[in-house]
Subunit: 315 residues, 2 copies
Amino acid sequence: MSSFEKKTSPQNAVLAVGSVAFDSIRTPSGKADRILGGSANYFSLAASLFTNINLVGIVGSDFPKDHFEVLRSRGIDLKGLETASGQTFHWVGEYGSDLNEAKTLSTFLNVFEHFNPKLPEAYRDSRYVFLANIDPDLQRSVHAQTRKPEFVACDTMNFWITGKKASLVKTLELVDLLTINEGEAFLLSEKNNVIDAAAAIRGLGPKAVVVKRGEYGALLFSDHGIFSAPALPLATVKDPTGAGDTFAGGMIGYIAHEDAGADLFRDDEILRRAVIFGSVMASFTVEDFGLSNLLRVTPAQVQERYRQFLRMTRF
Amino acid sequence: MSSFEKKTSPQNAVLAVGSVAFDSIRTPSGKADRILGGSANYFSLAASLFTNINLVGIVGSDFPKDHFEVLRSRGIDLKGLETASGQTFHWVGEYGSDLNEAKTLSTFLNVFEHFNPKLPEAYRDSRYVFLANIDPDLQRSVHAQTRKPEFVACDTMNFWITGKKASLVKTLELVDLLTINEGEAFLLSEKNNVIDAAAAIRGLGPKAVVVKRGEYGALLFSDHGIFSAPALPLATVKDPTGAGDTFAGGMIGYIAHEDAGADLFRDDEILRRAVIFGSVMASFTVEDFGLSNLLRVTPAQVQERYRQFLRMTRF
C-alpha cells in the first residue's frame, strides 16, 4: 500500500479552494521574501502526486505567469484561478524557536479581500472537495456550487473560530473530514482535552477529525477509534509554513486516489494511510523554504518515506 | 507479545535505586497532601508486574510501615531500603494547564540529604540495574557496588544537568539506556533538535536513548534507527507525577522479563515493545493521583492497553 501511481481521471480530481499568495517568512534558519505560497498552492502541489486538481482561487496581476505553467504541468487545472487587477495576497510572518507556532506580522489581503469564488462549469461535478482555511462563508459558497460532492474536507484557523464561529459551524455541517491544529481544536470545541475536543467537533458534523500536532504528529478520530500517527523526526526544519496545507494535500489526494466512495468510512484503513501520506508530504515541505521541496519531490521519494513511517512505528 | 507472565526468578530481578518520598501535589484536577511517591516507588510498582525488584533507598521514621507490606507483597525486596531517624523526603509541587511540566514549590530532602546507598550482598549480583533520577555521584556509587550488571539504565533531570554535568557524564559512560525528557535532552546535549540531541547523548555512552515527550509519546534512538511510540490519549489526566519513573519501570521491567542478555541490542524488537509497556504503565499512573492506579492495575489491564497501542498505530 505504500506504492501508488497517480490517477489522472477526472473522476479522481479534487476541487480545492484556498489562497494563492506571496509569503515573506523569517525562521531561525533564514528568511525568504515574497516567495510563492498560500494554502491552495501547498495543498495542490502535494495532492497532485496522487490525483489531478481543480483549483479555485484568485491572484493579482503581479503574479508570475511561469508558475501557472508549473502548476498545469502537474495536472492542476487553473480554469478556476481568477486573475484580478491589483496585487496578490501577501502574508508576512515569522517563527521563533517554537516552529509549531507562526507569528503573523502583516496580512495584505489585496485581491483576496473581494474574492467571490465562481466555479467553472466543469468543476461543479467534482466528487472530492477540499475547502482550505478561508472565510467559512466562502467555503460554503464553493460547496453550494458543487452538484454532488461525495467527500468534503476542510481546514480552518483561530481567526475564523474567534471571528465567525456561527458561520464556521454551518460549514462543518457539510463536511466529512476536518483537519485542525490541536490548539484550534480546543478553541473551537471549548474543551481542553483532545478526546473531548474531537468528540465535540464530530458532533458538529464531520465524520472524522484529524488533530494536527506539528512535530508531534497527528491523531485521527472516527467511528473506528483513534489512530495516532507520528511526525517524522527531521534533522533540518527550515520553514514550517504550509505544513498543514501540505498535510491535507497528501491526505485528501490519497483519499481521492483510492476512490472508495461510500465505503471510505466503513473502516478507517484508507483514512489511516491517508494520514500517513499527509505526514509524509508535510515532512518534505518543512525541510526547505516555501514550495521548494514540494516542487522537487518524486513519487519514489514519497514511497520511501512512507516506508520510513512503517519502520518507525512497528512493534 | 502482548501477553506476559511475571518472572519471579532472581535472574530477572531489577536493582533499582531512587527516592521514596511523600508528595504534596496540586493539579487542575485537585490536590493531594503527603501521599506516597518518589521515583523508586513508581518505578518498582510498575516494574513489579514483570519482574521482582531489589530496592535501594532511604525513608525516615515517619514512613508508614504498612506500605512496606504492600511493596513486599509485589515481590519488591526491601533489604536495601534503609530507615533513618528523621523525616522522609518530601516534595511539594504543582501543575498548571500544561501537565507536561511540574513546578517545584518546595523540596525537603530530609533523610535523603545524607543518603549513602549501601547494597545488601544479595543485590550485588543483580544483572539489571536502574539508576533513577538522583545525584549522579550516588548513581555511580550504586553501580560500583554491583559485580556484573548486564544492563544498566538511568534517568536524570535538569537539576543534575545544570549542577553536576561532569559527574552525570561519568555516569552516562556506564549506562546502556538513558530515559530523558525532551527538554532535558536538549539541555544535556546543547542541541535543539531531537535527532542531534539523541546522537550527542549516545556519543556519551548509552547504546540507546529514549526521549520522553509526555502526552506526545516517546522516541527510541538506537543503532537500529528511530522508533516512535505514541502516548495513549486519555479522557482524564489527574496527576502526571511519576509518569516518567513509571515509564522506566514498565520499560526496564519488560527488558528484564525478556532477559535477552547480549542479544538485547542485536535488534530493537524488545526495546520497542519495552517502550510500549513503559507507555502503557505511564498511562495508568497519570489517570489518578499518586500511586493509586499503579496499586490497582492488573496484568490483564496492562495487556489490554498494550493491544490498544497496537490498534492505535497500525496502518
